[in-house]
Symmetry: C2
Subunit: 353 residues, 2 copies
DNA sequence: GTTTGGCACTCCCTGGGTATGACTGCTAAG
DNA sequence: CTTAGCAGTCATACCCAGGGAGTGCCAAAC
């Protein structure tokens, strides 16, 4: 681990082959296997020497003295960044993604959840999605709906198609006309504004102008607050049971730790939301984090592929795939990218204009 | 299994003790353990004889010749129906349930999900909830909201506080006034009706009376259809990872089968919805199904406690706890009942009047 | 200098054999 | 009917040796 010299061509090829083989077999790979299965043109002894140097360089580790080698975090990292042949989506995958979105819902929450189901099914791993942060959406419409003298419902529609909705109980009777007047005033003066640009002061001013009561003003404020609430993540995950199939998770203790981590909305959100908060430009490229790069110890044997998706020109969410470090990175990156693109397209098509 | 004679007092006590001990220890229980730990007043030899007869009667089984006994489905059944001392909710549980509902959401979907989290946390098992079937709710309000000349949003509010909502794209331009007029007409003529009693013919008539276009009529029909859709179950489950802690599920194959079963919304719904469909009167009493009584082979080592909850005077949903057959039935029944009651109360308190 | 074949060594895994312990069922005596 | 005692059964744990996969090193070949 001390020095990390540039890898010469043969070392790079051997490292790539070890990672590839290990991803496919889940068994530590030895020099003889490598020499036989792949056409290296050198003997196993030479490969042994190279592998020893790769281990000294921190790219490979041995589970025990007389076992083959397994990639380390750094080994996977090098593989992903520089050695791995990129993959395209297969025809079959493309079709399945297309079919899925063709009949997808128009409700943001549902779309997000369906997308995780699709992605977990295609990838055979756990899929996670974060819905776009709400306060980057444009305000479209608010409606205060009279239900009875003491109860109303307020609905806020934004460009995400997300309608924040809540029921209000009034302390004093209200008239349907007052609600309509206030709704109209808000709509005409705020239409098209970005949610996060709407200040409480503006709301108050509009309420005052249309003669709304203090109680109604509070209701409007509350509705806007809810509509752009960002700490209610809008998170979906599915496919946790896929992890059971991975041999590295046959150890119940590890599995439990991971599942507990995943069940906790908050931690899961933090895990994926790094991607949103990061200074890296949102290039739309998938991003891979491997093992300890993820942070939490529970996930030290996992990797995560994240890819941002966008719709409109502002809203940005994230798709992610969580699986064992021994995951088919190229394929999953292609899948995540393709799904993110289709999701963005779908959201754009469906967006309320 | 051939004959099932009435159990005499001592046999009943021994059976109850075996079940109790096995539930607590997860180990097959032998005659000596029983004689030592519980005050039976007879020797282990006598207990052996009794246990042999209980096995002949089908109440107990031996995992292998030289092991202790384990309850059979029939043994659990007898225990639950006749032998088990009923339990009350502990002060602590009562408090936690109360606290949970005090700050619970007003949205039906959220409440249902939060309830499963509560119940899985309290019970240490998997909790499932089915939201009330929508078409038993009373219609409260419909609003067609003008977003642009070619798009609108329609919101339907029912007594469940559930608002079905959808976005509509018109083929031809519509005017905001027309939407308001139609909304008002529908509200005044349908207010308070039970959803399932509203026919398509009535909707059409109201649309015609208020001069709505064919397209608008379709939109209204669609919104009502969505609002009372029953085949969209409104299902929540949480706590699957609790099952990992149960020793009977340390076998990965069994665990996988169960988790796959649970991940599938449809099968899970069918499992719990039996309770709704059954002819049994909804007494509010918890109902227990044990092992093979559940039907699916995957669940032959599981039991389910279900309890209906009601709100208003019609809507009925179901709470359920799924766990190993070796579950603390009395406690879980108390928990499920208490939670169902609190859930019903909460829904009543929060119901839009 | 690099590559290669050979060889000794290490360590995991497996399978057989055995001891152990927790049961039961049976029998005969109380 | 109950009980003590005893033989028998079976799962589990344990030890141990053998096999196998793989490495590291060295000396010879290229």
């Amino acid at each position: 681990m001390i020095d990390k010299p540039e890898l010469d061509k043969r070392k790079a090829f051997i490292l790539a082959t070890v990672v590839y083989e290990y991803i496919n077999t889940a068994e530590p790979v030895g020099s003889v296997t490598l020499a036989q299965k792949y056409n290296l043109g050198v003997s196993s002894a030479t490969i042994r020497n190279e592998m020893a140097e790769l281990e000294a360089g921190g790219y490979l580790v041995q589970p025990h003295t007389s076992a083959g080698r397994v990639p380390s975090d750094a080994g996977y990292r090098t593989y992903v960044d520089r050695l791995m042949p990129p993959e395209q989506l297969t025809k079959d995958d493309t079709r399945r993604i297309r079919d899925q979105f063709r009949e997808a819902s128009r409700e943001l929450g549902d779309v997000i959840e369906q997308t995780t189901r699709l992605l977990s099914g295609l990838s055979g791993n756990l899929a996670i999605a974060i819905a776009p942060s709400r306060d980057t959406h444009a305000f479209k419409h608010i409606q205060l709906i009279w239900l009875s003298a003491r109860t109303s419902m307020v609905v806020v529609v934004t460009s995400g198609g997300v309608a924040a909705q809540r029921v209000i109980e009034w302390q004093t009777d209200v008239a349907a006309d007052d609600l309509t007047r206030l709704s109209n005033a808000l709509n005409s003066r705020l239409g098209g504004r970005i949610m996060q640009d709407v200040t409480a002061g503006q709301l108050d001013a509009i309420c005052a102008d249309s003669g709304a009561s203090a109680e109604m003003r509070e209701a409007v404020r509350g509705a806007f607050a809810q509509a752009r609430q960002t700490d209610e993540p809008g998170l979906a995950a599915s496919g946790a049971q896929n992890l059971l199939d991975q041999p590295e998770f046959h150890d119940l203790r590890k599995l439990r730790a991971i599942l507990r981590f995943v069940e906790e909305q908050r931690t899961l959100y933090d895990l994926v939301a790094d991607e949103l908060a990061s200074d890296a430009p949102h290039t739309g490229q998938p991003h891979v984090r491997i093992g300890h790069e993820l942070g939490p110890d529970e996930l030290s044997e996992c990797s995560v592929v994240t890819v941002p998706y966008s719709f409109g020109d502002r809203g940005v969410g994230v798709l992610a795939i969580l699986g064992p470090r021994r995951m088919p990175y190229a394929r999953l990156m292609a899948l995540a990218s393709g799904t993110a693109r289709s999701l963005g397209d779908h959201l754009n098509d469906v967006e309320i204009r």
